[in-house]
């Protein structure tokens, strides 16, 4: 040990106290993250703010155009339609999903279920499946033809075939179903973690007092899970504002029924080479996410207070 220190002494920066050296070592250890983040995170973000006020085709000169990019997208009905679509698909995809996830988690947590770890893995598998593969399989399931699996199943109940890819609600329901399938397991695992941290004696006490199962659920489980619920709602909101791969693969060719904000952005940039309006869309999305998160934040704060 001593000899090591001795031989390396020449490499040491001179004139630094031990305390500073430790600090320096610490910073060096965490620097990979910050370097990578600066290159792949911070720089692109700042650059897209800059680009939002420029006209650029990916090559050549950028020209400053002021707020023209914003006025172009704000006067485009498709932009507003894409925001509407994003919110509708988000609500359809996450609302029922969170409720289902909670129910699944409670079921999984109850003593009655056998093979718990098998279920846990099974729930999680959709989330780690390649999103592109999922979208392709769902495209086949939600085929517009009468023989498509979903249409054929509906046919058994006497429902006429739906144009899943080209009708207003068909496209949204199909995409929301994809989101539901992909995330319900993930969220129920998170709920499950929350459930397991609730002390058993609360339930025992309630049982002695004669509370029924549903009462226990409503007055013990849900209030105790509040922080988890808030977390899940937050991430689901942000996630659903960024829906992209599903409509890209599912909807055929940027159709308006399945156009989400990120897909709109992507079309501007990588299909039309209009990086200015694409960045303006990104900035608008950023502001929109801030608005939604703020609403979420205040709502959950109030929920917290009323809970106490």
């Amino acid at each position: 040990m001593v000899s090591h220190n001795h031989t390396n002494a020449t490499v040491r920066p001179k004139g630094l106290s031990d305390k500073k050296k430790t600090a320096l070592a610490g910073y060096l250890f965490i620097s990979p993250f910050f370097l990578l983040f600066a290159i792949f995170g911070a720089f692109p973000m700042l650059f897209s703010f800059y680009l939002a006020f420029q006209k650029w085709n990916g090559f050549g000169e950028m020209t400053f155009v002021g707020v023209k990019n914003f006025s172009l997208i704000f006067t485009d009905p498709l932009f507003w339609k894409s925001i509407y679509n994003t919110i509708v698909i988000g609500l359809l995809g996450t609302g029922p999903q969170l409720i289902a996830a909670l129910i699944l988690a409670v079921a999984l947590n109850s003593a009655m279920v056998k093979f718990k770890s098998v279920f846990r893995v099974a729930y999680f598998v959709p989330n780690v499946t390649s999103i592109v593969a999922v979208a392709i399989v769902f495209t086949v399931l939600f085929s517009e033809q009468e023989a498509g699996l979903v249409n054929a199943t509906l046919g058994l109940f006497g429902i006429s075939p739906v144009s899943w890819q080209t009708s207003e609600w068909g496209a949204k329901i199909a995409i929301a179903t994809m989101i539901f399938w992909r995330w319900v397991g993930y969220n129920s695992i998170i709920f499950l973690a929350g459930l397991q941290s609730i002390p058993k004696d609360l339930y025992e006490a309630a049982e002695i007092d004669g509370a029924k199962k549903w009462q226990q659920f409503l007055f013990i489980t849900v209030p105790m899970l509040k922080p988890i619920i808030v977390f899940v709602v937050f991430t689901a909101t942000i996630g659903s504002l960024q829906i992209f791969a599903e409509p890209l693969i599912f909807g055929s060719g940027f159709r308006e029924e399945s156009m989400t904000i990120v897909l709109y952005l992507w079309r501007e940039a990588f299909s039309n080479n209009a990086f200015g309006t694409a960045s303006a869309t990104a900035v608008s999305l950023f502001l929109l996410i801030i608005v939604f998160t703020t609403i979420n934040f205040f709502a959950s704060n109030r929920l917290d207070k009323s809970g106490k």
Binding site: H4, A25, L78, T166, F254
Partner: protein, 429 residues
């Protein structure tokens, strides 16, 4: 103790960086030393199955001073990666293959490529089909982006069994006589619908594309002005497709969907208006339909769909060596090899005279000399300027046609909406 360990780790990290850096500089020196006397390394990016690896081997044998590394990626990934590399100004290969529709994206990025006319490409111009060569040039013809590789001349694939069931002739020559133009195509569509209940084509897009490709001008002129309102051709193609849709002559399977592929095997429609490379797609989707699919001339003329160019991005340090290689690679002799090995359809018409080409027969397609049908088509293709926003306009028109078919929307209103959407997007560029 903790402090010491932290310091040790820090030193270890520093040491690793130091050695990594010194290795780097060492190998740099090495390659510099060798560079002058030894091999020139060329990186080449291609997509799909070109079989160019084999040809590159052959070239390297005869030119030991050149080492070619070919990287083949999937179509979309290839073009996106190339766009990013060219836009960023680093990471592009010495030779890049670009598909004909994608080359339009680079119209404004001439400065990212070498002008192949500077390497004497004028001398080989006459070896290639004129329309194909023109697309590889800038609008004013002074700049050449790439040398032509393969092309996708179009013809009419048809199901002999469906034609027979409808009481129509099935021999390719007779079918060509039966359907010389688009009026006849609509009449045959009516007969087939009446006798068999099947649509004439499975998809709106291919019928519309076939008509579009026969127009003397398409979406834009050389000044990038939108023509579809001034010139009648595209509207005519649209109206014709609409009329077939409204009479129920067209199927509604989306291109490339599994249903679309299945329909090829089942023979649930009569004709497929498609390019030469679709032969492979048909064989893949309908392995048990040998002899049922036949090929004859496209009604009303011919068109082109697909095919590529080989370009040399400006970042290349060895443009001369790269040019020498690609000039060899696309020469008629090599195009014949690519045709025989991988089915890439040659863009050099002298190949069409080769005996292997003249006596070509495809048993799958009923022993028809498919090569000759497509060669004839290739020589009929019209020179057309596509324009950098070609894909955008195409997408919106197909959207309008889909709405007419799926939502029973009013075609005139859909046309106007499509034009509005197109203009809105054009404004942004």
């Amino acid at each position: 103790m903790m402090k010491k360990r932290a310091l040790m780790l820090l030193l270890a990290v520093v040491f690793m960086f130091a050695t990594a850096c010194s290795n780097q500089s060492q190998s740099d020196n090495e390659s510099k030393d060798k560079g002058s006397s030894e091999k020139v390394k060329l990186n080449m990016w291609v997509f799909g199955s070109t079989g160019y690896e084999k040809l590159a081997e052959e070239y390297m044998k005869n030119n030991p001073n050149v080492e070619i590394k070919i990287q083949s990626t999937q179509f979309d990934d290839h073009h996106n990666a190339l766009f990013t590399a060219l836009s960023a100004g680093s990471g592009a290969p010495d030779i890049a293959m670009i598909e004909v529709n994608n080359i339009e994206r680079y119209r404004e990025a001439q400065d990212r490529f070498y002008n192949l006319y500077d390497f004497g490409a004028k001398d080989i111009k006459d070896k290639y089909l004129d329309w194909k060569w023109r697309i590889g040039e800038s609008a004013d013809g002074s700049f050449l982006f790439g040398l032509p590789t393969d092309i996708g001349p179009t013809a009419m694939f048809y199901r002999a069994d469906v034609f027979e069931a409808a009481g129509l002739p099935t021999d390719p020559a007779e079918v060509a006589k039966l359907i010389p133009d688009w009026n006849a195509y609509a009449e045959v569509a009516a007969t087939i619908k009446e006798k068999t209940g099947k649509p004439i084509a499975d998809n709106v897009e291919l019928v519309y594309n076939a008509l579009r490709d026969q127009a003397p001008v398409q979406y834009f002129n050389e000044k990038e002005e939108l023509l579809i309102e001034k010139e009648p051709y595209i509207k005519q193609a649209y109206d014709y497709t609409v009329s077939l849709i409204q009479k129920g002559y067209l199927g509604s399977n989306g291109l490339w969907t599994p249903e679309w592929g299945n329909a090829m095997e089942k023979g649930s429609y009569a004709t497929l208006l498609a390019p030469a490379w679709m032969q492979g797609v048909v064989k893949g989707n309908a392995p048990n339909s040998a002899g049922k699919w036949l090929i004859t001339n496209m009604p009303g003329g011919a068109g082109n769909w697909g095919g590529s160019y080989l370009t040399i991005p400006k970042e290349s340090k060895h443009p001369q060596e790269a040019y020498d290689f690609i000039q060899w690679l696309v020469a008629p002799e090599q195009q014949l090899k690519s045709f025989k090995d991988m089915g890439l359809f040659p863009s050099a018409p002298s190949v069409y005279e080769a005996p292997e080409f003249k006596d070509y027969k495809d048993e799958y397609f009923g022993g028809v000399n498919t090569a000759q049908v497509f060669a004839e088509a290739a020589q009929k293709v019209k020179t057309v300027y596509m324009g950098k926003n070609y894909g955008l306009v195409q997408g919106e028109i197909i959207k309008a046609l889909t709405n007419v078919q799926k939502k029973k929307a009013d075609p005139e209103k859909e046309w106007e909406e499509a034009i509005k959407r197109i203009k809105r997007q054009l404004e942004r560029q």
